[in-house]
């Protein structure tokens, strides 16, 4: 691990200023992803700003009837929250399908949104990777790509966003609240929070340098039945090959997003409108223009079958 200096922030704007002013500075919250990457020197921050004292640890009702989740609420606490379990079960289910008990105790809501891809070529510093070293190329293209993206990828990067929580947040139309070094706040719809890689895979999200996530807000509950179906190589503690987050209403309409397939949680509103016609119709539209490799083309039928399983459960 490269040497760094460390400070503990006591004020969000001061924290944002500390990170915005130093090119090598990074926030650290739970640290479960960042420290892993620092040990491998995939991430090499020169200064860490620890945000654990900023107090974003509450889950509270919003005046609109939704929920405001502090950025530092741990994955365990969010999944276990009574309101979330009752009204936003897809979110609890997604979080509980991810990582291990130890990691969920440490990982935070804001940090989870910012976790980086698990593409093996991103992790291996001997390999070309446009995300890790812009302009160096992409060893994954033409390489071992079983876990990698099938849709929304680019000619410079075929990595996926690896998380589960964000896939549920996408179905729920969550908003990401931030503050910057000038004290300016903004709300970013989750749909536009993660970027498609295009020719700049080094930039995962639309956050500006130093912009700090303070909370995630959820609109009022959707009702319906909530599902998070995750298909992976082990029954527990593995990243998704394909996952399906869905909220299905009694009339068969609903919302659906896919994980493990794209640079961001993959939801196509025009495709989910076809839910009453069945899984085939939805995935044909959702994965239109997909560019799978021979290693990962199984993800397309797998997504259809996972969604068919969800629809069957909803009808049962």
């Amino acid at each position: 691990m490269r040497a760094f200096t460390y400070e503990r922030a006591t004020d969000p704007v001061a924290a944002a200023r500390a990170v915005a002013q130093r090119p090598g500075a990074r926030y650290i919250a739970g640290g479960t992803n960042l420290l892993d990457l620092m040990k491998l020197e995939v991430e090499t921050p020169t200064h860490l700003v620890d945000v654990q004292d900023l107090g974003f640890t509450r889950i509270e009702r919003t005046p609109q009837g939704g929920l405001r989740i502090g950025a530092l609420v741990t994955n365990t606490d969010l999944a276990a929250d009574d309101h979330v379990r009752r009204d936003y079960a897809v979110l609890s289910r997604a979080i509980l399908a991810g990582a291990s008990g130890q990691l969920r105790n440490k990982a935070t809501t804001g940090g989870n949104l910012l976790q980086r891809t698990r593409c093996p070529y991103f992790y291996d510093t001997n390999m070309a990777c446009n995300k890790r070293r812009p302009g160096s190329g992409c060893a994954a293209i033409g390489g071992y790509s079983r876990q990698l993206g099938v849709v929304g990828v680019s000619t410079s990067c075929i990595a996926t966003f690896p998380g589960d929580m964000a896939v549920a947040l996408r179905v729920l139309d969550a908003m990401v609240e931030t503050i910057d070094a000038h004290g300016q706040t903004r709300s970013i719809p989750i749909a536009g929070f993660h970027r498609l890689w295009e020719d700049k895979p080094q930039q995962d999200t639309v956050l500006a340098p130093g912009e700090l996530i303070t909370a995630v807000t959820l609109p009022p509950p959707l009702g319906g039945q909530h599902f998070y179906e995750k298909v992976r190589d082990r029954a527990s503690y593995a990243f998704a090959l394909v996952s399906v987050a869905a909220v299905i209403q009694p009339d068969g309409t609903g919302r659906v997003a896919f994980g493990g397939v794209a640079p961001k949680p993959w939801r196509v509103e025009a495709a989910e409108a076809l839910l009453p016609q069945g899984a085939d119709a939805v995935t044909r539209q959702a994965f239109e223009g997909a560019t799978p490799t021979k290693d990962n083309d199984f993800k397309l039928p797998l997504a259809t079958r996972a969604l068919a399983y969800v629809i069957a459960q909803a009808k049962a």
């Binding site: 365990t76 009752r86 079960a89 609890s92 509980l96 399908a97 008990g101």
Partner: protein, 212 residues
């Protein structure tokens, strides 16, 4: 069949050749004009936390993980380093009442925290019930993952008692129960290379039964 050229090699010849190569390659990098920067001493940061009920104050390179602070600085070597990347669970300790991977946490981030390691759960004379159950049920072979397994197991039963839900729960709003299926799911962050899983699950069921 490949026709290899005949080589006459001796160990001494190989070593000498290697040395010459190393010098030839290494030399240009260390000319006076481009001397490597002198190593700077790393500034230390101080942290105070409580480990197994005893207050400990340390001055550490900020890079020091909680795991390395426990093992290398406090010489509490019960906690083990397996993968050092949060994948195996051998480093599991209980911080502020919750189990975490101590390898994926900086020691300086734990100012004021209460930390419990395997040494704090019990001693050979006064075993924690979970330690005793692991012995009774043969819940280990080589023993390397065992401290992490036991810290995790103790925390898992506490999580179930506190109503923390899991992936295998059918009804999310119900209180979880200490079933075999629940414990297998909740222990998935602790890998046992020897494969003592079934006996670990039995040890946990034994302790859970006593508490029920």
């Amino acid at each position: 069949m490949v026709d290899w050229p005949r080589l006459k090699l001796s160990r001494r010849g190989v070593l000498a050749g290697t040395t010459v190569t190393a010098v030839a390659v290494g030399a240009p990098a260390f000319t006076e004009a481009s001397a490597p920067p002198a190593a700077q001493p790393v500034p230390t940061a101080s942290v105070t936390f409580s480990v197994n009920g005893r207050e400990r104050r340390l001055a550490l390179d900020p890079r020091t993980t909680l795991l390395d602070a426990l093992r290398e600085h406090l010489h509490l070597t019960g906690t083990k380093k397996g993968c050092d990347h949060g994948q195996c669970g051998a480093c599991t300790v209980i911080v502020q009442g919750k189990r975490i991977n101590s390898c994926l946490s900086l020691a300086v981030m734990h100012e004021g925290h209460e930390i419990t390691t395997i040494e704090g759960l019990g001693t050979p004379d006064r075993l924690h019930p979970m330690q005793a159950a692991f012995i009774r049920h043969d819940g280990y072979q080589c023993g390397y993952c065992t401290p992490g397994q036991i810290c995790s197991a103790v925390a898992v039963l506490d999580e179930i008692a506190r109503g923390i839900p899991s992936h295998v729960q059918d009804d999310l709003t119900a209180s979880p129960r200490a079933t075999a299926q629940e414990m297998r799911e909740r222990m998935s962050g602790n890998i046992c290379r020897c494969g003592a899983y079934s006996n670990i699950a039995e040890a946990m069921a034994d302790v859970a039964g006593d508490n029920a």
